[in-house]
């Protein structure tokens, strides 16, 4: 039995039952990013990007490539969730709100996939 009126259900009022997923994913990606981002700063300071040959040799190590891809996924996932929250909180004009939310998701997915493809191209490609 539902406590919601048929009209309320049609209008989509009430819980969408997915708020906690968003909340939890933002925290879990934050937890992953704490060590991963410090690791990234450390390897940059270590001179991994000094020139193309050094970067390519470093990137072709499977462990390094794995961590880079995990870093990219966590970065863009976290950014997508957090930027969506900011838009939901501050952009009240409906078309801009919906457009902004769609743009954030599309941009994060495009850039994230491009970054992963780039890592694979450098690490695996000839």
């Amino acid at each position: 039995m539902t406590m919601r009126s048929p009209l309320g259900r049609v209008r989509g009022l009430g819980s969408a039952r997915e708020g906690t997923d968003h909340w939890l994913a933002e925290r879990l990606t934050a937890l992953a990013l704490a060590p991963l981002s410090l690791w990234f700063v450390a390897i940059v300071l270590d001179g991994v990007g000094a020139d193309y040959t050094t970067l390519k040799a470093w990137m072709s190590e499977p462990g390094n490539m794995t961590l880079m891809i995990l870093l990219i996924i966590a970065f863009f996932w976290h950014a997508s969730l957090a930027l969506s929250t900011i838009i939901e909180d501050y952009v009240h004009y409906k078309p801009a709100n919906v457009g902004g939310l769609i743009a954030v998701k599309f941009c994060c997915i495009f850039l994230g996939v491009f970054a992963i493809v780039s890592v694979l191209k450098v690490g695996v490609g000839g």
């Binding site: 934050a30 704490a34 300071l45 950014a79 850039l111 890592v119």
Partner: protein
Amino acid sequence: MAVSILQRITGSGLAVGLLIFTYWLGAAAYGPEAYATAQAFLTSWFGCLLLFGFTVALYFHLCNGIRHLFWDIGWGFKMETTTASSVAILVGTVVLTALTWIIGLSG
């Protein structure tokens, strides 16, 4: 307190940082010449200024983010604790940024 809204401001700044991060990786994927161009930009004075800003934002967002995770499990809500953790976040940001750039510029 100001530290709270700064989490969103630094986070938005770091999203711009993600664009630079992706540009850097993409340049490497396009080959040695494109990568050399990206490196020249990132090691120019303007590139270094951007990177400096990103390290400040990263360390602040990281330190304050850790506090948020503790808040989420119900720790550290007392007034004197939040004041102390705010100070710790600011000190942590300055120390980590200084350490990073001392190592980065001496290497």
